[in-house]
């Protein structure tokens, strides 16, 4: 199925801490600048230096960016893994192996080269330590040469990254050239190559965590508390960077925000709730273990009705699990996070655009609904680079929800914190510091009535709980709608969410080639908007694709739509690697085959 032009996967095997990042980005960007759609995935260990790391660039003219199992071009720099890495390459592939790395016999039909990286870099870089970093640029040159990546674009890509450091730039440029020349004399062009197109014009390359941070910046976030944890740390750090740059008072240079690195996640979410309660736009970002520690406080947020934005950058595994591998495994625990009748709103960003948009929207929703809102991203979306159209500047102002000022109170005369005045089950709140005698109220996680008074009454308690349930219905109408793609005469339907969407779209294309037409639903929120129920009602066989073992979205759908429960068929992927289209194709195809057989 490979086409010779603009359709292949480039796989670089190194060790982490070896500075191969710049080299890989140079290749990625050079092809991107040639107008060819690319995506890059970094597979790294939960360790700081010296362990195996792989970077894979997918080049695909049709814009498919999901992971593929197959690799076409391998650069084997890591002696620890070279044997397996090389063994995995099939016929038609090209292999560049560093001189001296152990290697098995290469399959027939594959081309392989042993490249004397060290010999080539020595004359260029004197310092041994520096050499270890710059050596990677040798393969950049060689790969560019055999793939037909334009030298000028490699130049530009390199320059855009190292422009600020002339000495480094010169040195790296020299290394690229050396690789290029070496390939020119010692290697054949690869059987697949890159050709200039015009498909990436105006697009950006960004990771989901940066996009999310940007969304928050333009949402007017004023406070963030966090505790470092992979893969969410880069979101908080990106936020810090953007805020330092764009959110200082022009006059005083003082900050219109505060970011606190808390002592743990219990404290982080506590600070967020305290700040939100007092009127800040507050958020935190975390992953697995940190999420578990936020359990008690999120129940408080639900019951005391305090806005909060929590980004969960999902990683795989119960407990510590695999901190640097991706998954969509936190849905059920977040949906019911904390004891008692507690339910939480979740958003599912499916792209970096969504990360930015939800970075904005999550705050409006939290303020509007007065409850914690969880944005369920994952490591693949959050830490890998994706192509996107530039983000739109928000045209509408923010929605801070139902907050009463002293003036409002003066008009109204009275105020009851938990009274459903408007019939949407969302009460009004006041902020501490509001200069009005009627403003004050008492916030607590214990039983309270409409006036926020303490109560143990068996009438008042269920009254408040029922209103919270009605508020849940209001949320259903406010959260982002799903993306529906109904195909006439479709054989089956595929439901997906979050980062699984890319693989699903590609799989649908492949299935079509296989004469299996599918409709699709991309779920973007929980509670489910009514469009979700209607979609399920319209389709007989519904494959729910997700990256976890327990079919967590499928479970939520079965709970919510008993009358559709039997139509739901989970297609699961949970090995920690990003989902690939083939897995989806196999799942749907086998299901459809049984179906046909059953007829």
């Amino acid at each position: 199925m490979t086409h010779p032009v603009n359709d292949f996967n480039l796989h670089v095997a190194t060790v982490n801490g070896s500075g191969s990042q710049t080299a890989n980005n140079t290749l990625l960007r050079a092809m991107f600048q040639m107008g060819v759609p690319v995506s890059g995935k970094n597979l790294f260990p939960s360790n700081i230096a010296g362990l195996p790391t792989w970077f894979t660039i997918r080049v695909n003219e049709r814009g498919w960016v999901a992971r593929q199992r197959r690799n076409d071009l391998l650069v084997a720099m890591n002696p620890e893994t070279s044997v397996q890495d090389i063994a995995a390459m099939g016929p038609g592939s090209v292999i560049l192996m560093a001189e001296g790395v152990p290697a098995p016999k290469v399959v027939d039909g594959a081309t392989s080269y042993v490249v004397p990286f060290q010999k080539l870099i020595e004359p260029i870089v004197a310092d041994a330590k520096l050499r270890k970093l710059v050596v990677n640029m040798i393969y950049v040159g060689a790969v560019a040469r055999i793939l037909g990546i334009e030298r000028a674009e490699v130049e530009r890509a390199l320059e855009s990254q190292l422009g600020r450091k002339p000495k480094a730039l010169a040195m790296n440029r020299a290394a690229v050239d050396a690789g290029f020349e070496y390939a020119e004399t010692n290697m054949k062009p690869a059987p697949f190559r890159v050709e200039r197109r015009n498909l990436t014009g105006g697009k950006i390359l960004i990771d989901g965590n940066q996009a999310a941070a940007l969304g928050a910046v333009f949402a007017g976030v004023t406070f963030a508390a966090w505790y470092p944890i992979t893969p969410s740390s880069s979101l908080a750090e990106a936020l810090q960077g953007f805020l330092d740059r764009y959110r200082r008072d022009p006059a005083t240079k003082k900050a219109t925000y505060a970011i606190v690195q808390a002592e743990d996640e219990i404290s982080a979410i506590g600070m967020v709730l305290g700040a939100s309660w007092a009127g800040a736009r507050a958020m935190t970002a975390t992953s697995g273990p940190g999420l578990s520690l936020m359990t008690e406080f999120t129940g408080y947020g639900y019951y005391a009705e305090i806005p909060a934005v929590v980004w969960d950058i999902q990683r795989i595994g119960p407990s510590t699990g695999l901190p640097t591998r991706t998954s969509q495994g936190d849905l059920l625990s977040v949906a019911f996070l904390s004891h008692g009748d507690t339910k939480h709103v979740m958003l599912f960003p499916a792209s970096v655009e969504d990360c930015y948009e939800f970075g904005l929207e999550a705050f409006d929703l939290a303020d509007r609904l007065q409850t914690p809102v969880f944005v369920m991203s994952d490591l693949d979306l959050g830490m890998n680079v994706w192509m996107a159209d530039p983000f739109r500047y928000p045209e509408k102002p923010w929605d801070r929800g139902k907050v009463l000022t002293a003036a409002d109170l003066e008009k109204l005369g009275r105020f009851e914190r938990y009274r459903d005045v408007d019939g949407d089950a969302i009460p009004y709140r006041t902020l501490p510091g509001t200069p009005h005698p009627a403003a004050a109220y008492f916030t607590r996680g214990s039983g309270h009535d409409e006036a926020a008074r303490y109560t143990e009454s068996s009438e008042a308690y269920p009254r408040v709980m029922d209103r919270l349930n009605r508020k849940w219905e209001t949320a259903r109408s406010l959260v982002p709608k799903p993306v529906v793609d109904d195909v006439k005469g479709a054989d089956a339907a595929i439901v997906s969410y979050g980062s699984s969407w890319y693989a699903v779209e590609e799989a649908r294309d492949l299935l079509r080639g296989d004469a299996i037409e599918t409709s699709a639903l991309l779920v973007k929120s929980y509670p489910f908007p009514e469009e979700v129920g209607r979609f399920l009602a319209r389709h007989e066989r519904i494959y729910v694709v997700e990256q976890n073992r327990d079919g967590q979205m499928a479970s939520l759908l079965r709970m919510e739509y008993p009358e559709r429960a039997t139509r739901i068929r989970p297609v699961l992927h949970y090995d920690g690697l990003p989902l690939d289209a083939q897995t989806v194709v196999d799942g749907v195809r086998s299901g459809e085959r049984e179906e046909v057989a059953a007829r």
Partner: protein
């Protein structure tokens, strides 16, 4: 003068009466030390002339943590989860630095489940008056020992506490807290000025108040019963507080009194009792606490004060007005900013 006219209630500098600082009726056990502290808080707030709407009351969980419902009924309150009031306080303060934060906790709430957050609050020097209503037991859960129960103290069930108490004042001093005091619910004359000083201090002010639990910890053998505390109370000095808005010039007999000036111009006057005590000496404070425990005494008074320690917000370098009240224009960067960022991600320069 006419007997029939009821006397006008006294009014403070903002025209409120003491009654305006009351809350709802207490539901604690009659005689609970915590209620006495509530009384002192009300009086201190009244005398300082705090504006109720500028105060935020915070607490954790416990009989002690219920008390914010019983004072300053016109102030917002956040009754958090058990032991986590410090993180709430930090968030509230950052959102609105104009608020005066008044936190009430218990010894279980602070020394057991909340110890970590307490230490980090102190380390950050978040401006909050942190009152620990310390009775050595878990009142609300019916009398188990807390981590401040004294070694050898006997519980109501007869059990003896085998573990060393955690001295929250010593920990606070150790962590560089700028205001550390200990007092006794039964000594409003001492507690009130301490509270007023704490409320005028800019930074975390830890006030550990021995507050007997009459229901579960006032029996024979308890070291924190009203009787035991009264008997072993050892005041360091006689405290008086002169608020900044009363520029009285008090003149003391030389050598008899120390004066501490707080950042808002208020003054604390400490009249020497038997020994002279310097509240500016952290080591003196630690030694004094240590010795008093050896002797089974409770030293009370202003243990340590350093009005110059920079508060949390100074470090955060935030704008002067509350973050919570910034309008959209000031927190949403212009389109040009987004364009700049987008250009960066296009070229790869970002």
């Amino acid at each position: 003068m006419n007997q029939n006219v009821p006397p006008e209630p006294a009014r403070n500098r903002i025209g409120l009466t003491a009654a305006d600082y009351k809350g709802s009726k207490s539901t604690l056990c009659p005689g609970c030390g915590h209620d006495a502290i509530t009384g002192s808080i009300i009086q201190a707030a009244f005398e300082l002339g705090l504006e109720p709407h500028r105060v935020a009351k915070l607490s954790g969980i416990g009989c002690s943590s219920k008390t914010p419902a019983y004072f300053l009924g016109r102030s917002h309150a956040f009754n958090a989860v058990h032991g986590r009031m410090p993180s709430i306080a930090t968030g509230v303060f950052i959102a609105n630095r104009d608020l005066t934060l008044l936190g009430v906790s218990g010894d279980g709430d602070t020394a057991s489940i909340g110890l970590g957050q307490f230490c980090h609050l102190v380390r950050r020097n978040v401006p909050v008056v942190y009152i620990i209503e310390n009775n050595g037991v878990y009142g609300l859960t019916k009398g188990q020992f807390s981590a401040t129960a004294d070694l050898g103290s006997r519980g109501k069930s007869g059990r003896v506490n085998e573990l060393m108490p955690i001295d929250l004042c010593a920990i606070a001093v150790q962590l560089g807290c700028g205001f550390v005091a200990r007092s006794f619910s039964g000594d409003p004359k001492q507690l009130r000025p301490i509270l007023k000083a704490a409320l005028s201090h800019r930074g975390t002010a830890v006030v550990d108040v021995l507050s007997p639990c009459v229901t579960f910890n006032s029996h024979e053998g308890s070291t924190k019963s009203y009787a035991a505390v009264k008997e072993h109370d050892a005041p360091l000095h006689e405290i008086s507080f002169i608020p900044h808005f009363e520029n009285i010039e008090v003149d003391y007999e030389p050598g008899e009194t120390r004066e501490v000036r707080l950042h808002d111009g208020s003054k604390i006057a400490l009249r020497k009792l038997d020994a002279d005590y310097d509240p500016g000496d952290a080591f003196r404070a630690l030694t004094t606490l240590h010795q008093s425990r050896e002797e089974g005494k409770f030293v009370t008074g202003l243990l340590y004060v350093d009005p110059r320690k920079p508060a949390f917000d100074e470090e955060a370098a935030m704008v002067d007005e509350p973050l919570a009240s910034l309008p959209l224009e000031r927190v949403r960067p212009p389109k040009s900013a987004l364009d700049e960022v987008m250009a960066g991600f296009k070229s790869g320069r970002m």
